[in-house]
């Protein structure tokens, strides 16, 4: 092979068949192949829909009070004689007889007045997106009578509708907290990992302090700190602030570790060799490469906050009524006798479980899709 021959040679490169794929397209292609990842993604989308259209999905006005601790109304497709009918339910009402043990009026289905069920029925009035007035609901009794599919709580409010409404506050808290800890954690982690030195050493000791802090007593102490008379949104902001203040440290650790590895990789050195500034290296080379890990960390952090919110709610540190959240609903379940007699008020737990599973599955799927190289 002579040099002059070589001059003319241009090496063939593979055709750009699925060539010009961006990184995102690659990740999506791999995510599609992960069964759990896709299941998580679909569930997350459903949860988001549920949250955005909470009014539409709620069969009953969540503030409407009725019979306290009414059991869930079952859907039957047969009538009393056993013949097949249009799906119906029977309203739960207080009868005239008394319970021989508690001497409370007996609560039971009213077989005399069956309620036919249907989709897109008329119900209580609301404004879609806070703008469009409508009274259509996804599912309910055709004549607009309130139906409590998951029973009612101690004030006789519909549990299912409160779960739908409560998902807003719960997920809003989760997303806000995760947003804050991501911004703070990523910034601190990248700066600490990239510049290293004394700043890094002290920053990491501080992170360790935050991580080592006994969180539960702190949460409980803080609950007593806020005046009872504080307005609800102040309380909400406080909950978010406390959760973020203790959550960013973990994120900053992960980002710092990744940044440390990236800062020593050849393309960062190559960027230094062409004279790039630190700012350019951080934003062009480190940030985009850290981002994929951050996205995964975010999807895995959301369920943690949802869990934390419901757990703290159970302990009494949750948003205040009239706001609704899953944590707040679980506050009612803290008495053993209540759970024993009215187990349906535990149903927010199922939604917490689904949310945690959905985000975790999505996070795991994303991690595998993001990191094969």
């Amino acid at each position: 092979m002579k040099a002059d021959v070589q001059t003319a040679v241009i090496v063939p490169v593979p055709p750009a068949s699925h060539g010009n794929e961006t990184y995102l397209a690659l990740v999506w292609r791999r995510l599609r192949h992960s069964w759990t990842g896709m299941a998580g993604l679909i569930l997350v989308c459903l949860l988001m829909l549920m949250t955005v259209f909470a009014e539409f999905f709620s069969p009953v006005d969540p503030k409407l009070t009725g019979v306290a601790f009414a059991p869930p109304q079952t859907i039957s497709i047969t009538d009393q004689e056993g013949s097949l009918v249009w799906p119906r339910t029977y309203q739960v009402g207080e009868g005239t007889e008394l319970d021989p043990v508690t001497f409370q009026p007996m609560v039971g289905p009213d077989y005399a007045n069956p309620l036919d069920l249907g989709f897109f029925v008329k119900g209580f009035k609301y404004r879609l997106f806070g703008l469009i007035p409508t009274d259509r609901h996804f599912f309910g009794a055709t004549n607009g009578t309130p139906v409590n599919f998951l029973g009612t709580d101690k004030f006789g409010r519909d549990v299912l509708s409160r779960i739908f409404y409560g998902s807003r506050v719960s997920l809003m808290i989760a997303l806000t907290v995760v947003f804050i800890i991501t911004v703070v954690g990523t910034t601190v982690g990248m700066v600490s990992g990239y510049f290293g030195g004394r700043f890094d050493a002290w920053m990491q000791r501080f992170v360790e302090l935050v991580l080592a802090f006994p969180q539960l007593p702190l949460y409980l102490a803080l609950t007593s700190l806020i005046p009872v008379t504080a307005p609800t949104n102040v309380f909400l902001a406080f909950v978010i602030f406390v959760m973020s203040a203790l959550g960013w440290a973990q994120m900053s650790r992960e980002v710092r570790g990744k940044t440390l590895a990236l800062a020593r990789i050849d393309y960062v050195r190559a960027a230094m060799a062409i004279g790039a500034t630190d700012r350019r290296i951080i934003f062009q080379h480190i940030f985009p490469n850290v981002m994929s890990h951050v996205i995964v960390a975010v999807t895995l952090a959301i369920p943690n906050v949802v869990l934390l919110e419901s757990f703290l709610g159970f302990l009494g540190f949750a948003v205040k009524p009239p706001l609704m959240s899953w944590g707040l609903m679980l506050q009612d379940t803290s008495t053993y006798s209540v759970i024993g007699s009215y187990p349906w008020i535990l149903s927010p737990v199922a939604f917490v479980l689904i949310t945690v599973f959905a985000f975790n599955a999505l996070g795991d799927g994303l991690r595998d899709a993001v990191d094969p190289y």
């Binding site: 070589q6 593979p14 990789i265 190559a270 062409i274 062009q284």
Partner: protein, 556 residues
């Protein structure tokens, strides 16, 4: 030369089967392996047949991606779950088709009758067990033996693989041994049950050149004394020529040609075989102008690292001198080779000279300017004049940036080219001079092969029109034939643009093909320097001689 029908070069049967004694110990026919990937199925191995007789060594040669390792793993039964072996395939061990064996039967065969050693000895050994424990386990899985008997056998094996002081070594952990010793331990483990067949998959690629010869000699000696058959998988033709009896040349999952080693090397028939044999780096650097000025000069450059020593209560710092007061002078249009084994400090020295690392002492002059005390900001105006190409093209290109962005970045940073179009024009020129088409600006690094990526990295350096490029083992991670192309490219660029190179390498073959002068380093010191031909033909020190012998005649 008479035309040969290339389809007849690789029949199922070996060319020398008439002369063979007995039946082959391994007789593989029509082995085909597919892998499930995201976009469907990939044929890793299409149709491979080979025979291995007792007491001989066959070599499987090919470039990365040719399917040689997959073939070996199929024989071992070590394929991943994503792989499927076609129904037509058969691999007979001693007349019995192992592909029809149950998992249990295969396990009994693996590590017992057929053993394998891998490329990277550090990751093949478990770091939390002593080497003794690991060898003993390998023995007792397959043989009923008491612990003390197994211990005896382990010591015997360690002696066989020539580990000094085996009684002490047996209780050491893998990290306490050198790379060569670890590979010896791997061999000892593979030999633990006196296998009939040893598969060595690139056994020396991860090792230093001088260690390579020792390991290969050891394998050959053991093969003779134990009467094993060896399958040697490699990309290194020098190794093949010296250590194998019969050669299979693979490309794209198929055997292209096979023959006895002597015949194949004397009379290669298939174009691919010829291409492989031709891709040994050759030629020499074109002569440089006589009285060229100095571009980069290091005087008594010293780099040291502080290691933590002592415990928590008595913290101490221990100084490790990586580069010990070295002086070097590089002229314009010259290529200076910097040679040494891993750990000799050559990369550290190179990076200190371009100020990617801080030197502790000495002077560095770039084009007459002293740069050793310049800060990163002060260095910036000089950056476009000195560039770096790194060893591994897979980590030196940011996977999130397109080829265009990667090359353009240097232009933006150094404010070269007034408009974006002007910059893109320069990017295209740079791609062309690196031998790449200029329509790949919007594509991403992962779409390219190692050689192409290294060209992109070279284009990134060249786009800035530097006067000097630090080449840090730019060819070590590449296949042989690609390596030859890159050397051609570097030589061409030097002649066209009058570049000066500082070429860091451990491979003297490449150094001979590219450099005018060479500096040999060992333990942070320069042991020898001079014009390339002088140093390679008349090495003055034993160390250089060892390096030269390792490069040009492995079996030294």
């Amino acid at each position: 030369m008479a035309l040969v029908d290339i389809s007849t070069l690789a029949p199922e049967q070996r060319h020398d089967h008439a002369a063979a004694v007995g039946s082959p110990i391994i007789d593989a026919r029509h082995v085909a392996v597919k892998f499930k990937v995201e976009s469907g199925m990939v044929d890793a191995v299409k149709d491979v047949s080979f025979q291995l007789y007792r007491g001989e060594t066959i070599a499987v040669v090919g470039e990365s991606g040719s399917g040689k390792s997959v073939t070996a793993r199929t024989v071992m039964g070590l394929l991943t779950k994503r792989a499927t072996v076609s129904d037509r395939s058969s691999i007979a061990y001693d007349g019995k088709n192992v592909l029809k064996f149950s998992d249990r039967q295969r396990r009994a065969l693996r590590g017992n009758r057929i053993s394998m050693i891998f490329q990277e000895p550090m990751s093949s050994l478990n770091p939390v067990y002593t080497i003794g424990a690991q060898i003993i386990e390998a023995i007792r899985v397959h043989q009923k033996m008491s612990r003390s008997q197994a211990m005896e056998r382990t010591l015997e094996l360690l002696r066989q693989v020539q580990i000094p002081d085996p009684e002490a070594r047996i209780n050491q952990y893998p990290h306490q041994l050198s790379g060569g010793q670890r590979q010896r331990i791997m061999i000892a483990m593979a030999l633990a049950n006196s296998p009939d067949v040893l598969i060595a998959d690139e056994p020396t690629t991860a090792l230093d050149v001088t260690v390579q010869a020792q390991i290969l000699n050891l394998i050959r000696d053991l093969q003779k004394t134990l009467g094993m058959a060896v399958i040697l998988i490699t990309h290194d033709l020098t190794v093949v020529r010296q250590f194998s009896d019969y050669v299979y040349v693979m490309q794209n999952g198929e055997v292209k040609e096979h023959n006895t080693t002597t015949t194949l090397f004397q009379n290669p028939q298939h174009p691919y075989t010829r291409h492989l044999l031709n891709s040994e780096p050759k030629g020499m650097a074109n002569p440089m102008p006589v009285d060229s000025a100095s571009i980069l000069e290091g005087r008594n450059v010293r780099v040291s690292f502080m290691l933590k020593a002592g415990g928590f209560f008595k913290p101490q710092l221990k100084e490790l001198v990586a580069v010990d007061s070295l002086s070097i002078k590089l002229h314009r249009h010259e290529t200076l080779g910097l040679v040494g084994e891993s750990g000799s400090g050559k990369t550290t020295f190179g990076q200190a000279l371009v100020k990617l690392l801080r030197a502790d002492g000495g002077e560095i002059l770039f084009d007459g300017q002293s740069i050793e005390n310049k800060t990163r900001d002060e260095m910036r105006p000089l950056r476009s004049r000195m560039q770096v190409v790194f060893q591994d093209p897979f980590s030196s290109l940011n996977p999130r940036m397109s080829v265009g962005q990667i090359i353009e970045e240097g232009l933006i940073v150094n404010k070269l080219g007034a408009t974006r179009n002007e910059r893109l024009e320069r990017v295209r020129e740079a791609l062309n001079s690196a031998g790449l088409p200029n329509n790949i600006l919007s594509r991403f690094p992962h779409e390219f092969s190692g050689g192409q990526r290294q060209r992109i990295a070279i284009a990134r350096a060249v786009a800035l029109e530097p006067e000097f490029i630090l080449l840090d083992e730019p060819t070590s991670a590449l296949d042989l034939s690609v390596q030859a192309q890159i050397i051609e490219l570097l030589r061409k660029l030097q002649d066209e643009k009058g570049l000066s190179y500082l070429f860091i390498s451990h491979d003297l073959k490449v150094v001979r093909a590219l450099c005018h002068r060479v500096v040999v380093m060992q333990h942070g010191k320069i042991v020898e320097e001079g014009p390339v031909e002088d140093v390679l033909t008349h090495p003055k020190t034993a160390y250089t001689e060892r390096l030269v012998r390792a490069a040009f005649e492995v079996a030294a």
